[in-house]
Amino acid sequence: MNELIQFFTTNKEMIFIVILMIFVGVEVIGKVPAVLHTPLMSGANAIHGVVIVGAILLMLNAEPDNYLSLILGTIAVFLGTLNVVGGFVVTDRMLEMFKKKK
């Protein structure tokens, strides 16, 4: 219990940010037309590609002799990139379709 409160106070801003982000996330989606569900999903998918930052940090902090870490890390970066690049490009292509009609 005490640990929990401890954890809470050290990260209280972080936690509040998390709560706010949840609000924002929900609010933002709120009133989206069915047509945009797929592009939106795809866009969100691209955004969580930000996990690649984690993979990069992992690599930067890895000991150069710990091959397993390096290999896994490299793969992680690769996969993350796929998520980011692929995600944004696909979304853009979907939206291209809608744009036409504007």
Partner: protein
């Protein structure tokens, strides 16, 4: 100094994500929103690499850049080459990659943090969620591209899954408390998570995949957020949480549009539905109509509404239907399209499809707006749609789609249904509409039949 700059850029990036997502939910701004978020992402990545504090071996940079370069090329090409209708699969695939990335981070960071329960807890959480999202997305992907055709159900799969899930959590908790350093436990947990992901998605019918993908999407977001907590990295945290919450809500919104409670999606009420349906054979007898007669009928009608469905996508007949529209318009027929929110296999599927053949945006009418119009409609042309025009949704409480709002095509003077056979649609149920007096069937592949129809029409003057 570097640190300060990092913080600032991360903060800006986080804001671009929010703005981007917000803009994405409005047709006018959507595209720019996507680009904005992408810009923020690039900034974040560059920052992570170049404003890193401390000594880094060049080899490592080499690996990073190599991986990014390769990933960019592969990602870019696949995304560019895929055809519209295959996009949901691809989204699922990329989502899986993100999940895997998160899982790998967990695998590697574990031994760095042995002894610090909080971190270990965060790591495991991220790893588990990432793995589930990964394997789950792979299954979803396989289902959507047909590799895995129908829902595979182990006996009592629901209970089984729940048990495994609980086991998974308990095991993780054990690892945290025990403070063990053994990688063995870690990899076992990893494997278990992968398995759970598979079992989680495999019983779910392909029709529900978009929902599942959206759900897994928010999972990956969550996994990313845990990564953010682990590294105390704000952009990961905010980006992850944002997607986590937005994704969850989007999932619910989608379920609402399909009129399927998320619970049923996950615990597969559709399955039962299918069972029921397969039992009921064809009722009564059906009328058929040929392209030539139909051509005449269309030619002399005032108002025609086209109801596109999944079949139109399968047949890739979007261009042919556009052609048909143009000709009819020339003949002074008022043509418009009735778009059901869940027609096809992904939300907006029909819009995307018809947009491909430059159908005028204003001709695409949402269900609410078009339903009243059917009464004044001479001919409704249902092309490869089935469930979305199935009256059972209104009349038959036992039907798995009961309660789903449908297009009231039966109100039109006549209703022509084009499909290849009497087979069921995704819900796997009979459609009594086909047996109505007003209805006549136009059998055959949509593209083939529509082309004939167009030629007939051309011949007509």
């Amino acid at each position: 100094m570097n640190l300060e700059i990092q913080h600032i850029i991360y903060l800006i990036a986080s804001v671009t994500f929010i703005m981007g997502l917000k803009m994405l939910s409005n047709a006018k701004t959507a595209r720019n929103g996507n680009l904005l978020a992408a810009a923020g992402m690039i900034a974040a990545i560059i920052t992570a690499i170049f404003f890193h504090e401390g000594e880094v071996k060049p080899i490592i940079y080499g690996l990073i850049f190599g991986a990014i370069a390769l990933g960019t090329v592969v990602g870019w090409l696949t995304a560019k080459k895929v055809q519209m209708t295959k996009m949901p699969e691809l989204v699922s695939l990329f989502n899986g990659m993100g999940g895997a990335c998160a899982a790998l981070i967990g695998l590697v960071e574990f031994h760095h943090n042995v002894g610090d329960p909080t971190s270990i807890g965060i790591i495991l959480a991220g790893m588990i969620i990432g793995s589930v999202s990964f394997s789950g997305s792979m299954i979803a992907w396989a289902k959507l591209n047909g590799t895995l055709k129908n829902a595979i159900r182990l006996p009592k799969y629901n209970i089984l899954n729940t048990v495994i899930l609980i086991g998974l959590v308990l095991y993780a908790v054990y690892i945290v408390w025990s403070g063990t350093a053994s990688e063995m436990h870690l990899y076992l947990l990893f494997a278990a998570a992968i398995v759970y992901g598979i079992l989680f998605v495999i019983p779910i019918g392909g029709a529900d995949m978009p929902v599942v993908i959206s759900l897994l999407n928010s999972f990956t977001g969550l996994a990313a957020a845990f990564g953010g907590f682990l590294y105390g990295n704000q952009v990961m945290l905010t980006g992850g949480i944002l997607v986590g919450s937005a994704g969850t809500l989007l999932t619910l919104v989608m379920c609402k549009a399909m009129n399927r409670p998320l619970f049923n999606v996950i615990f597969g009420a559709f399955g039962e539905g299918a069972a029921v349906a397969s039992s009921g054979g064809p009722q009564g007898n059906i009328k058929e109509v040929g392209p030539s007669d139909l051509a005449v009928q269309l030619n002399y009608s005032k108002k025609v509404i086209i109801v596109p469905g999944y079949g139109l996508a399968v047949a890739q007949a979007q261009h042919t239907i556009k052609e048909l529209e143009t000709i009819l318009e020339e003949r002074g027929v008022d043509v418009s399209y009735a778009i059901h929110p869940v027609a096809g296999r992904m939300p907006g599927h029909m819009n995307v499809l018809l947009a491909e053949s430059n159908v005028d945006y204003d001709k695409l009418k949402e269900m609410e707006d078009v339903n009243p119009e059917f009464t004044q409609t001479d001919v409704v042309l249902v092309v490869g749609a089935n469930d979305v025009v199935n009256p059972a949704a209104k009349t038959d409480p036992s039907s798995p789609i009961y309660g789903m709002p449908i297009l009231d095509v039966e109100n039109a003077k006549t209703c022509i249904v084009n499909k290849r056979s009497m087979n069921a649609g995704y819900a796997g149920i009979e459609n009594e509409l086909f047996f109505r007096d007003k209805t006549s069937m136009l059998f055959g592949d949509a593209k083939k039949v529509l082309t004939e129809l167009v030629t007939e029409l051309k011949a007509l003057d």
